[in-house]
Subunit: 424 residues, 2 copies
Amino acid sequence: MKFTFTDTCRLSNNEIEKTAKILLPYLKHLQLVADKNNYDFAESSINLPFDEKSANEVKNLVKKLKTKKLQYIVDIGIGGSNLGTKAVYDTLFGYFDIVQPDRYPKMIFLDTNDPEFISRIVALLKRIKSPEEIVINAISKSGGTTETITNLEIVLASVGKTIVNTRFVVTSDKGSKFWNFATEKNVPCLEIPTTVGGRYSVLSPVGLFPLMMADLNIDSLLAGARSMRNKCLSKSVLANPAIVSAAILFLHNTKGININDNFFFHPELESVGKWYRQLMGESLGKDGKGITPTVSIGSTDLHSVGQLYFGGPKDKITTIIGAPSAETVVVPGNMTFPLVAHVENKKFGVIMDAIRQGVAATYDNLKLPYMTIILDDLSEKSLGELLQFKMMEMMFLGKLLGVNTFNQPHVELYKIETKKILSR
Amino acid sequence: MKFTFTDTCRLSNNEIEKTAKILLPYLKHLQLVADKNNYDFAESSINLPFDEKSANEVKNLVKKLKTKKLQYIVDIGIGGSNLGTKAVYDTLFGYFDIVQPDRYPKMIFLDTNDPEFISRIVALLKRIKSPEEIVINAISKSGGTTETITNLEIVLASVGKTIVNTRFVVTSDKGSKFWNFATEKNVPCLEIPTTVGGRYSVLSPVGLFPLMMADLNIDSLLAGARSMRNKCLSKSVLANPAIVSAAILFLHNTKGININDNFFFHPELESVGKWYRQLMGESLGKDGKGITPTVSIGSTDLHSVGQLYFGGPKDKITTIIGAPSAETVVVPGNMTFPLVAHVENKKFGVIMDAIRQGVAATYDNLKLPYMTIILDDLSEKSLGELLQFKMMEMMFLGKLLGVNTFNQPHVELYKIETKKILSR
């Protein structure tokens, strides 16, 4: 991963370093959390990629449940329980499901209570011929999540008893009501460490189990996260991407910029952006503070909100995220419609890179602030790096903003109102 | 469609009416555009739903190309050339494609230059057995759009000559270079009126042709748009949803609110939100002015950015969009995991409505400003109403902000930089 910011962030390295240094005591604390290598701290999610015991539990269960016939992994969870899984799955498989109808297994995500979606998945589930074609994974820290439990109940009622008894896995906090009910019924359970909140849990069994079931390489994902974890503990603050990025976002926010646009130049990374929306929104949005995260897709959104970004109010700090491509499809040399210059015989990756650089040049010309992340490739390893980078960035940024990065007190508000209405 | 705003928008009807009245001369102009019923004006898109000739051309071509074997409509276009089509298709079919693998025809959208996606679609196209299985539609007002032409060239090179000669349709401005090349090669062409810009073109052949190919009812879509067009020409300003919504968005913007969140309580409406992002971003984002449109999905995003919306900075004006559901799946009466109260035997639609109302109650408690749109149902007619409402809202809002609602001068900036890079 290559992270660049000098000049383009419209702040001097001096200014960044000064802010970054405020974080040194907190960095020391994070180093302590890493040294202890346990789950005693709010920040303990940084130890997940080093937790071999947890990864092995996942691997053993996958070994039992993996079959050649597997068609669908039904992932039932919402928010932190599915966004990280979806980020990785969609980048490498899910975005392409429409053009790869015969690639299996596919992951189906059930998060909200959509009547139209559930009625159609019920019809699909009724067509399952052998239990080996399906695995159901329900994920909830407490089990008290309305959407997850109601989706789960309908799915369980729609499949045969054999599937419920042999192809169903619960992921939860050990000792939660959900955990206890499940173990009573001999449903295999995977543990989420209590201190690890949903939005920091992608590298726990929350993400690892469904991703490995779906043929994704969780060892590479964890290896990427491990190397980035250590990079983000560096005391050379300007070489520490999480600290630098946090400082830049913070400094612009103090100057009134309230939007952080994440501009991905591969559409399959959109779900990574949606994962980041939760990470930033829920970690920082409290006490009247916070930055609104937005997700843009290059080049798609250049034909949509590009005009606004270039010509509208200067209220955004942008993170551009790109990656080289291994694919080699080229534009034909003898075009049927020779209406665009300089594209014949060019690879799509080359065109997309040129568009990304063209956008960056335009931001430069307009003096709009941005940082750039170029992943090494589109792989589990690179995604592990990116996710770990952003989770640690958020811890530093929460510290700078002076908020509790790990709670989400206001989420209860609408739940209370909703329960009042449902109980009528 | 039911549109409500009183009290919840945190502005008095008096204040709204005062601003709305500024728009009366422009309303008179729009009435003139409607009376002329031609394509002579920048606002002429409001006449599209009344254009029987254009709709008939679409219907005749669909009749020729529609076959029982049809599996894929490949829709090649970007920005205004595909976002409206995707909005309607995804709401009624696309969002469910993953759980309806055997429902055909499916629409495949090719917009940006993604190397990973194009390599997989090439593999899929090579497996097409009969030309009747596919229709290719390339949409570009000028034909000068890099992404559209390069995607098209690769698709044309990947399918047999018969498909290129018999199953390929171009949608463009009459007399554009694209149009002229296509007619020379005897490719059937559908016309986009020159004055209708991409983001206002969904009800032209841009949207109508692929949607009708995909079994969507374009007569209902147009009927919904027609009734809403007339409603949005009403001189009783408080009964004119487009004028009221524009006035509310404008008034909050003058008070420093720079984000308009569009909160959809059906996930399948997400692509409508993405269509709206272009409509608002590109229409208003100029001269340093503009409002950043965001898209949120209930209840998914309550477990993501909900905390930020409730507890963060008060920088948003929200449009809540819901719809009753015709689906009847219920939560089982005898729950395996009885961990959530008040949901047994309840329809999913009832739970989702309760969540939406719970969110609205929370916005009320926190005095956060919002408007509410409740569609009659999830149908082509309701989507026609919603799209037409929003397009006319944007015309009024652009007028209030004092910008040219119909141009997008800054989009050229990155294109120039990109071309420099590609020509090296």
